[in-house]
C-alpha cells in the first residue's frame, strides 16, 4: 500500500462496505435484545395473571373453571424429583471432582473428563430414554425416582466439571500448609481445600440445579406427570415443566393461562439461580485472589 494510499480518506465502495458491516453488527445486537425483550414481555404479561393463592396451593380444578385450581402438585413434584436428583448427583459430582483435582493426573482422569464432556453433549432426551428402559420398563411404572435418575445423568457431569475447576483454583500453598502440619491427605482435601472452594462449589451446584429445574424431556419419559399430588417417589409424579407441556396442548384457554403462570415461576427460579451463581462466582474469585 503506497503512502498516498494510506493517507487518502476512505471513500466510495470501501466506506459503504464498512458502514454496512457496522450496521449489520448493530442489527444483530438489536435482534438479540428485541427477542429477549419480546419473550420476557409475554411471559410476564400472560403469566402474572395466572398467579394467585390458588395457583400455588390447589390441585387442578375442573376444566370449566381452571382458575379456581392450581398446580400445587407440580411444585411438590418438581421438589421431589429435583430433590432426589440433587441428593444423588451432588455428592457423586463432588467426589468425582475431588478425584480429578486432587488425585488423578493420569489416563484414568483424562478418561473421566472425556466421559463428562460426552455426557454433556448428548441430548437430554437420550438420558430420559435410557432411564425409561432401565427403570420404568423394568419396574413397570413411571416414577419420580426414575425422573430423578434421569436428571442425575445430566447433573453429575455438570457438578463434576464445574467443581473440578473451582478446586484447581485453590492455591497449592493451602494444601502444603495443611500437609506440613502432619494432616492426612483426605483431611487436607475435605477440611481445608473444599471449604476454601466453598462458594465456588455452591455455584456449581446452583448451576446444576438450575439446569435440572428446566429440563422437560428426560422427566417426561420417566416421571410422566400427574394431575394430583403424589409424594410416593415410586409413582408417576408431576413437575412444573411437564404441567406446562400438557396444559399448553389442551384446547382450554384457562389452562393455557396456567401454563404461562408455570412458565413465569419456572423462568424466575432458573434465572435467580443462574444469576445468583454468577454473583457468587465473582465474589469467590475476588476472595481467592
Amino acid at each position: 500500500m503506497s503512502a498516498a494510499g494510506i493517507l487518502q480518506p476512505v471513500r466510495g465502495s470501501r466506506r459503504i462496505k464498512d458502514l454496512a458491516y457496522r450496521g449489520a453488527l448493530w442489527c444483530c445486537v438489536a435482534i438479540a435484545m428485541a427477542t429477549l425483550g419480546v419473550i420476557a414481555f409475554y411471559v410476564v404479561k400472560r403469566g402474572i395473571s395466572a398467579l394467585s393463592v390458588n395457583f400455588f396451593t390447589k390441585e387442578p380444578a375442573s376444566q370449566l373453571h381452571p382458575e379456581q385450581g392450581g398446580i400445587v402438585q407440580s411444585f411438590i413434584g418438581t421438589g421431589i424429583i429435583v430433590g432426589i436428583a440433587s441428593l444423588i448427583a451432588i455428592p457423586l459430582g463432588l467426589l468425582t471432582a475431588v478425584y480429578l483435582a486432587e488425585y488423578g493426573k493420569g489416563r484414568l482422569a483424562s478418561a473421566i473428563r472425556l466421559t463428562a464432556q460426552v455426557l454433556l453433549s448428548v441430548p437430554s432426551i437420550v438420558a430420559g430414554a435410557f432411564i425409561w428402559t432401565v427403570v420404568v420398563v423394568a419396574f413397570g411404572n413411571f416414577s419420580a425416582f426414575a425422573g430423578g435418575l434421569a436428571l442425575v445423568v445430566l447433573m453429575w457431569p455438570i457438578v463434576a466439571r464445574a467443581t473440578e475447576e473451582v478446586l484447581l483454583l485453590v492455591p497449592q500453598d493451602l494444601r502444603e500448609g495443611s500437609l506440613a502440619l502432619g494432616l492426612p491427605r483426605w483431611k487436607t482435601i475435605m477440611r481445608v481445600v473444599v471449604p476454601a472452594a466453598g462458594a465456588g462449589i455452591l455455584t456449581a451446584v446452583m448451576l446444576a440445579v438450575a439446569r435440572a429445574l428446566g429440563e422437560t424431556a428426560p422427566i417426561l419419559l420417566t416421571a410422566l406427570g400427574n394431575d394430583f399430588i403424589n409424594t410416593d417417589p415410586l409413582k408417576p409424579t408431576d413437575a412444573v415443566p411437564l404441567r406446562i407441556f400438557s396444559d399448553a396442548r389442551t384446547p382450554v384457554p384457562g389452562l393455557h393461562q396456567i401454563a404461562w403462570g408455570g412458565a413465569l415461576v419456572l423462568l424466575l427460579a432458573v434465572l435467580l439461580l443462574s444469576i445468583g451463581a454468577r454473583v457468587l462466582s465473582v465474589r469467590q474469585q475476588k476472595r481467592l485472589a
Binding site: D173, L174, E176, G177, S178, A180, G182, P195, A196
Partner: protein, 252 residues
C-alpha cells in the same frame, strides 16, 4: 547426637537431580541458616527434612535424614508423624481462609485425631499465639477470619499454627521474604526467642539476615554443599573461595 543429621542426601525432580550428596547437621537448640543463590537447592533441601519434597509429582529422594538418630525415610516411618515433630513455615503466609484466627492457630490439633475440649483448644491456641508473639494483637478478635490480618501478622499466625502441634524442630523457608522490613525484624526477633525451645533451620536469600539470626550456616551451590560451619566463620573467614565470593556479594 545432633538433633537432625543429613547423610548423603540426593534428590530429584523427575530426571533432574537437584541435590547431590548433602551432608549437614543441626544441633539441638541452635539456628542453622541455609544460604545460596537462586536455584541452588535450598528449598528442596529443607523440604526433604520434613518429607514435603515427596508430595510433588515425580519427586525422588535417596539417602538418610536422621531425627534423634532415626532415619525419617525409613521403611516403617509415617510421614504425617514426621511432620508433626518437624514443623514448617512457608515463604508466603498461608493461613486457612475459612477459619478464624484461633481455629487457624489450633488447626493442626482440631483436624487431627486428638480429642481436645474447647477449653483445651483455647489454652493451646493462646500458648501458641503467645509463643509466636501475636497474642496481644489478636486476643480481642480471636474469632475474626485469619485472612484479615496484615502480612506480618499472618506469617506469625502460621508460625503459631506450626508451634501448636508442639514440634521439636521448626523449618522456616524464607519466612520473611514476602514481608516488609518491620515485619521481617519481628520475625528475626522471634527466631531468637524460639531457639531456646526448638531446633531451627532457616532458608534465606538475605545474607545479613543469616548473619544476624543463625549459629551455623550452610552455603550451597548447584545442589551441593560448598561449606558448612559456625556463622561467624562463614561470614568472616570462610575456607572456600566461593563462599567468600558469595558472602561479599561478588555474585548471586
Amino acid at each position: 547426637m545432633s538433633k537432625m543429621e543429613v547423610v548423603d542426601l540426593n534428590a530429584w525432580f523427575g530426571i533432574n537431580q537437584v541435590l547431590h550428596g548433602i551432608n549437614v547437621s543441626a544441633e539441638s537448640g541452635s539456628v542453622t541458616a541455609i544460604i545460596g543463590p537462586s536455584g541452588c537447592g535450598k528449598s528442596t533441601l529443607i523440604r526433604c527434612l520434613n518429607r514435603m519434597h515427596e508430595e510433588v509429582r515425580q519427586a525422588r529422594v535417596e539417602g538418610k535424614v536422621l531425627f534423634d538418630g532415626v532415619d525419617i525415610y525409613g521403611d516403617d516411618i509415617d510421614p504425617a508423624a514426621v511432620r508433626r515433630k518437624i514443623g514448617m513455615v512457608f515463604q508466603r503466609p498461608n493461613p486457612f481462609p475459612t477459619m478464624s484466627i484461633l481455629h487457624n492457630a489450633v488447626a493442626g490439633l482440631r483436624l487431627s485425631d486428638e480429642k481436645l475440649s474447647k477449653a483445651q483448644m483455647r489454652e493451646r491456641g493462646e500458648k501458641a499465639l503467645r509463643a509466636a508473639g501475636l497474642w496481644d494483637e489478636v486476643k480481642d478478635r480471636l474469632d475474626a477470619p485469619g485472612g484479615r490480618l496484615s502480612g506480618g501478622q499472618q506469617q506469625r499466625l502460621c508460625i503459631a499454627r506450626a508451634l501448636a502441634v508442639e514440634p521439636e524442630v521448626l523449618l522456616l523457608d524464607e519466612p520473611a521474604s514476602a514481608l516488609d522490613p518491620v515485619s521481617t525484624l519481628r520475625i528475626e526477633e522471634l527466631v531468637g526467642e524460639l531457639k531456646e525451645r526448638y531446633t531451627i533451620v532457616i532458608v534465606t536469600h538475605n545474607m545479613q539476615q543469616a548473619a544476624r539470626v543463625s549459629d551455623w550456616t550452610l552455603f550451597m551451590l548447584f545442589g551441593e554443599v560448598v561449606e558448612f560451619g559456625p556463622t561467624p566463620k562463614i561470614f568472616t573467614s570462610p575456607d572456600d573461595q566461593r563462599t567468600d565470593d558469595y558472602v561479599s556479594g561478588r555474585f548471586g
